[in-house]
């Protein structure tokens, strides 16, 4: 039985997609992120706005459509997230 992802895991999945799996240099569109991160439009919009406000993602306007790229702060956060995710996993926990 698969378990629900935590809010932190969803953020981790979004940042990972914008770092490693963007279709072009402009970044990833919302539709692309919805498909890759497997999350609804209503929920991802709030999360993306939050991540942009905190400087983890950069928003670019390409041909009228919003696209998202990971920022340097976002890369550092993702690195810390991966490190401490393994740490918590060692205790049988998820962050």
């Amino acid at each position: 039985m698969s378990s629900y992802r935590t809010h932190m895991q969803i953020i981790g999945d979004i940042l990972l997609t914008t770092r490693d799996d963007t279709p072009d240099e402009q970044g990833a569109s919302i539709t692309y992120l919805i498909r890759k991160a497997n999350i609804s439009h209503g929920r991802i919009s709030k999360i993306l706005n939050n991540l942009v406000a905190q400087g983890l993602l950069e928003q670019t306007n390409s041909t009228g459509a919003c696209k998202y790229k990971i920022s340097n702060v976002g890369r550092e956060f993702l690195h810390a997230y991966n490190t401490f995710n393994k740490f918590a996993d060692g205790y049988g926990l998820t962050i």
Partner: protein
């Protein structure tokens, strides 16, 4: 001699708890994860609990020289450690610990009245044992989900802490035995096993929060 040995073991417990708590706190500051915040509270509480017992023993060895630690100091130290064990169990969603049936809940309250005549320390130790056993079982279940080997070691560490609490509780039956030293040694072995996931954290690659 026994007091001196206990003193060293309590100091080791304090240092181990402090280090794991600090790593968890760095993780919390860098990610904002509530799980890491609970781990921070858990290990700082465990470390502070050992520190209280160490401080009480050190004062007795070098200042009061009575040869035994005040009972309230021992009880306070164990109580603070129990808070730490609670947060470890709470991280595994403690809600599944309590029965949903009202009948079972009312029956479950009976032992509380039966043991209320025994000292507070006994009650605290029994609560610690239950919390640790719960945490160990949940960690083993997590291992079956993730297959991460460190989870087995952590579960072993939690079991060692639980056995340590049980032996410490049993020490009241045989107060002149070495059970207390065995209890603290087992707890320290358990804490060292809990320390293993910390050794897997590549500290040199973490960008530490500037405010820490």
């Amino acid at each position: 001699m026994e007091l001196f040995l206990e003193n060293i073991l309590n100091l080791v417990g304090f240092v181990v708890g402090l280090i794991i708590g600090t790593i968890s706190y760095i993780g919390f500051r860098n990610t904002g994860s509530p799980t890491l915040f609970r781990l921070t509270l858990a290990f700082f509480s465990i470390g502070v609990g050992f520190f209280i017992m160490w401080a009480g023993q050190t004062l007795d060895i070098f200042v009061y020289k009575t040869g035994h630690v005040e009972r309230w100091v021992q009880t306070l130290g164990i109580a603070v450690q129990t808070v730490g064990y609670f947060f470890i169990a709470f991280s595994h969603t403690i809600k599944s610990f309590f029965p949903k049936s009202n009948y079972l809940r009312s029956i479950g309250m009976v032992p509380l009245f039966l043991i209320s005549f025994i000292s507070i320390e006994n009650i605290i130790r029994s609560i610690s044992f239950i919390l640790l056993a719960y945490g160990a079982i949940e960690t083993i279940l997590s291992y079956f989900a993730s297959r991460r080997k460190t989870a087995i070691l952590v579960a072993g560490g939690l079991w060692a802490l639980a056995i340590g609490e049980f032996l410490g509780w049993y020490y009241f039956v045989f107060p002149q035995s070495i059970l207390n030293v065995v209890s603290i040694s087992t707890k320290i072995a358990g804490l060292i096993m809990l320390f293993i996931p910390v050794t897997k954290v590549p500290l040199t690659k973490i960008k530490f929060d500037e405010n820490i």
